[in-house]
Symmetry: C2
Subunit: 729 residues, 2 copies
């Protein structure tokens, strides 16, 4: 293993990238995520521990959001009475009255999901210490977190005072989600606190204990329980300080504080090394399934691993009732809400490499069919209409209005009403999961119902008019154009959806007549309904320009102002930001892959290659990639068209979206869809992996010319298959 | 060619790295160097055009320095009356009253030494333009520089006003080196100015003309002559603005202004494309000789090319009377003075790949033998004693005192008096040049005199006492320890020097009796003198600990305080800076490779491998690498000892010294010795290239395990030989 291709390094403390690095250096284990803030704190830091499924909706907000849990990280250290902090950096004098940071390095070890930091620090007394910090959230036991601090006397015999604490007074950017009552741990040698979310009533308990036998409970605040200890280091001596924490919620069991008390005691008894070993072994398994190795492109290799890491630390391993927010658990952006980003971006890598995890994410939707049916009903439709933004309840939680703009106005947000393709995106993920895993049992029990009831929704939603079927007032992937009639993406995917639903139903009839009967009854899959589906498939309006041999994003698209997007290079803003909302929505500027996304998803089943090339030439120069979801899909589609150089440019951009902060908002959390998208750009795009007509795995490689070799594994119908593709030498 | 491994990119304007990037993005052609400042200027920018050999010594300074020449870069652009500037970045509003920078990228194309920049800019009027800037200093004609600005209307029909100017009112950090009189060009369509250095009296003339037929001379200042023009762009139209400049000095010919006027007119007549083509062809040749290709380490590949680039743009192609300052021509650090950095760091790559350039640098020393003899005489010695810091005159120009410290005191600088190994470093370079080129003619005409007269110096300098020969009061490479007696580096290298001088003399006697006779007479190489050399060789004191089987850096070294340097990791400061000057000079902390440097230079001719390993184990943990010269030499020595992992760590650090600003002072200019050192770490260290006993090329590869292949060319005795070393798969 080449460590340098598995390690994200910050050399010297970069205060100007504080928040971006908090996001990048997030750790997690699929149960919770913890931003890379510092044990000792830092001015303006935005610490967050986010737990899947713990949402709360306070009266001051339009919508619920993931709750910032009690912070288990704090370890305050004094060296001869001088507080250790990175603030003592960048002073002119190396010998200031208050201490000095003499050295710093931070490394995220991707192979084992351990965050490591080391610092050299001089106290005001003149003593110099080296401090190293390690932390991880165990993948072997998702309720357990461990921290290790090692302090070594480099000069002097410093007195070290350590205060380990929990901060239970956390907020989401100033908004508190906690009910006022606090339960605290009375267990010996342990600190702990349980809080309850104010509206949703979830209990969240965090406990900590330490390896240090001399630590004593500090007098103090119920919201900030602490243990403290003091020791003197011998010359060149060192001391190790371990802090163990446990976190349970009332989603796990009835008394999370009690469970966390027991768990943290057991963790401390096992010790740091044993916990780390179990954690590392679990990660070795996870990477063995999910790593992509690229030879000939170190830069993208490391960046690609970082994107895979961020999907893996966010993917729930043991929970069928949570899914992954657009920013994973690495930041408060999009409030932890679940979008199509899961089904069409993050799920495919999991479906193909860790199907048991992918199944959890699909089950999240299955268990929320009630919410989807509720939404359909409220919209005068039948079947299941999934919410554009989803949380714990399964109800639509998209805000209706934007935050106030600079002029005080709010913009109406239509996606919750009109971005209805989410239901088809879920169906696509169900179908992909079934084809790749061959998990017939799951399909007949759960998958089929998702596929079919969303088809029922579309059958009721489609409008028969003008001698054909149409769908009005939609938002396709290109969100710059809202409430359009006959989005080609939507209409064509609905055709695919209904065709696929009929295929699934045929299979059930043949292979699983009981389930066929059950679903036919429960979903009312009458002969009349199925006949209508077939009629929709036959007569759906697919906007297409016969003269130009291109798909039309929606009728009227080309009547709007043409703005040559490539002229706006180089740019660090979207063209929409440059031209303003009002003008760009009335122009042909596209936010993200839309027709191109349809090409990626359906390939040559959409149209012959010549049409796909025409589409590319039409839509690529109109897209400003205002969404981080866009470049990876362009990379995939371009690679399939043999436009390898453009594909690589798009891939390079996509894989560095957070590393280079290409969108300028990495501080709010990882762009998780881009992370899943780049996996697909490699596997489906450059390698061209697919299941052929005989049900065998097949490839059509079109690697970037400088790549020597790409190698990865997929799990195909229960068997791990390693795939290696090489460029000719 | 993989462009990504040949391009240094700045994505988005990084104001916080303004000065570091000015250094990194320097262009040059071996005649002059130009920092990467912007055509339109920027607050706090430090523009510099530095020309080899143009030194000046003003009364307010202790020493002479390279003079900051008139700035030929300025091109000011107004878009609908709004000045284009990068200052209009980072504003909250995208639509401020004064314009906005909407995009930015900068790329240094290493393969052709062209600096490219593009920007998207909105004027206050709302017009949007894309601007691209290219510049190069021609390698085909070293007096010619060219700039091309292309402005494209992206939105609107903007009026573009361009002012091309020369700023002849330049200073070195506020210190003016110019005499008050100014000569200006009266030639039609050309602006130009000649200034004269106040003390040294060099004339420096810069002229510019433009491709724009509508440009008119602006009224104005003799010190800032300008041409201006105005045009309106059609919608989506673009315009190209070429500016050609020429620079001559009175070192080149008697009337530099006249020459520059003629040259710039010819350049303009040839046109930008033709100039670029000739320039690019010249660079292709240069890289064909000097590029090292590493497969399996993209990061170091790019970094290594950047280091090679900075040596190549600074190496004089057509001038025997200049050499390369410690910071090349990329910054004012070390005032452009020439140190041993040339002979032991930068020269070897040139000697082995572009010997005709290396010869120029050795001739610089040859033509300064008078200064070296003058210094020897002043020090009561015979022969040639080269100055520690050298400029145009060849006299010692090391300052005697530091700049004032925070407490107002000044520290005495002893290197000019006591760092005498420079004379042997030059001899080493002469010998290496002769062995690799087989240029007997040059050796007999020039090289031998350098080798022998510096040997004469040492023969007179060495002290016979205590029944042996000693050398007192020296500074070895480890400059933390000044004025030590019997530095093992110095004593042992002097032995090598005298041995080598005798070998050279024997060769002359046999192959070139006339030159032997000439030099025997002119340098007084009497039998008595040669007998003394042999006696010194036999009886020189080489400090060595027989019990520990290690070389002793100097007697008494191990009596000083031991400070375990590795304990001070991670650190962003030298241990000397951490502990303070007073304490560290009385400790065993070493500034840089000293005994280890001796090991690199002499290899197993110094001692058996077991002793070299003992030395490594002793001195490596005592070195704080306070000098940028250190890590590359450690990489070389470690690689030879088979310590491949440590060698790679040291190499990685060395090759990124300026890219990562590892020393915190890249703003002052490139660390050129490190640039030359990393070449040697690869070629002499990892590849183990050497000339064997039969005079054949031989290798002892010890590549970093993740390197797949290293490939480069050397010129061995007039024939280009391509060498490829692979790691076992």
């Amino acid at each position: 293993m080449q460590k340098r291709l598995w390690t994200l390094i910050e050399r010297g403390f970069q205060a100007e990238r504080l928040h971006q690095n908090e996001t990048l250096f997030t750790i997690g284990n699929g149960y919770l995520g913890v931003r890379g803030t510092f044990e000792e704190g830092y001015p303006g830091a935005t610490p967050a521990t986010l737990i899947h499924g713990i949402y709360d909706h306070v009266p001051s907000m339009q919508i619920p959001e993931l709750v910032n849990a009690p912070n288990w990280l704090p370890i305050a250290i004094m060296v001869d009475g001088t507080p250790f902090t990175l603030r003592f950096d960048r002073h002119d004098s190396l010998n200031p009255p208050h201490g000095a940071l003499l050295g710093y390095e931070r490394a995220l070890l991707l192979d084992r999901a351990v965050l490591h930091r080391s610092a050299l620090f001089r106290a005001a007394s003149g003593s110099i210490v080296r401090l190293t910090f390690d932390r991880f959230a165990s993948l072997a036991d998702e309720h357990i977190m461990a921290q290790r601090v090692t302090i070594t006397a480099v000069a002097g015999e410093p007195v070290i005072a350590v205060a380990y604490s929990i901060d239970a007074d956390t907020t989401n950017d100033g908004v508190s989600h906690w009910a006022p009552d606090v339960r605290t741990s009375q267990a010996l040698g342990t600190i702990g606190v349980e809080r309850r979310t104010a509206q949703s009533g979830y209990g969240v308990a965090v406990t900590s204990c330490v390896s240090d036998p001399h630590a004593v409970r500090a007098a103090g605040d119920a919201l900030r329980p602490a243990l403290t200890s003091v020791l003197r280091l011998d010359p060149t001596g060192s001391a190790v300080f371990d802090k163990f924490s446990a976190l349970y919620t009332s989603r796990d069991l009835a008394d999370p504080l009690d469970a966390a008390e027991n768990a943290v005691r057991q963790a401390a008894a096992a010790g740091y090394d044993a916990l780390l070993q179990a954690h590392t072994a679990a990660w070795a398994k996870s990477w063995a399934a999910s790593d992509i190795r690229i030879e000939g492109d170190d830069e993208c290799q490391l960046a690609l691993r970082l994107t895979a890491y961020h999907v893996l630390i966010a993917a729930p391993r043991h929970d069928e009732n949570v899914s992954i927010g657009a920013k994973t658990l690495s930041g408060l952006g999009y409030k932890g809400h679940v979008f199509w980003d899961v089904e069409l971006f993050m799920l495919p890598p999991l479906t193909l490499t860790q199907p048991e995890v992918a199944r959890n994410l699909l089950m999240y939707r299955y268990h929320r069919l009630a919410g989807a049916r509720h939404k359909a009903q409220a919209n005068g439709c039948e079947g299941a209409m999934f919410p554009w933004e989803s949380t714990d309840t399964g109800e639509e939680t998209t805000p209706q209005w934007s935050d106030p703009q600079p002029d005080g106005s709010r913009i109406r947000i239509w996606t919750g009403d009109r971005e209805q393709h989410i239901s088809t995106d879920i169906a696509y993920a169900v179908w992909q999961f079934w084809r790749w895993t061959g998990d017939d049992d799951w399909f007949r029990r759960c998958g089929a119902e998702l596929l079919l009831d969303t088809a029922v929704f579309w059958g009721s939603r489609v409008e028969e008019k003008n001698g054909r079927y149409e769908i009005s007032q939609q938002i396709g992937p290109d969100e710059y154009h809202e409430n359009v009639d006959n989005s080609v993406f939507v209409n064509r995917m609905v055709v695919w959806h209904l065709q696929t639903a009929l295929r699934g139903l045929d299979w059930l009839a043949e292979q699983s007549p009981d389930d066929h009967a059950r679903l036919t009854t429960s979903l009312d899959l009458s002969a009349k309904r199925l006949a209508r589906w077939r009629d929709i498939i036959a007569r759906m309006f697919i906007p297409f320009d016969e003269a130009k041999q291109i798909h039309i994003q929606f009728p009227g698209f080309f009547d709007m102002e043409y703005i040559p997007v490539p002229h706006y290079l180089p740019r660090t803003h979207s063209v929409q930001a440059i031209l303003g909302h009002a003008r760009s929505i009335q122009s042909q500027v596209i936010k993200q892959a839309d027709v191109v996304m349809l090409m990626a998803l359906l390939g040559e089943s959409l149209a012959p290659r010549s049409v796909l090339l025409n589409n590319w030439d039409t839509y690529f120069p109109r897209c400003d990639h205002g969404s981080s979801l866009s470049p990876a899909m362009h990379a995939w589609a371009a690679a399939r068209l043999g436009l390898t150089e453009i594909a690589y440019d798009q891939f390079h951009h996509a894989v560095h979206i957070d590393l280079h902060d290409n969108k300028g908002n990495s501080r709010d959390g990882i762009h998780a869809a881009a992370c899943g998208g780049v996996w697909q750009a490699v596997v489906f795009g450059f390698v061209g992996l697919h299941i052929d007509a005989n049900g065998d795995l097949a490839f059509q490689p079109a690697l970037p010319t400088h790549w020597k070799r790409v190698s990865f594994s997929v799990n195909y119908r229960g068997t791990q298959r390693t795939i290696t593709v090489e460029n000719p030498a």
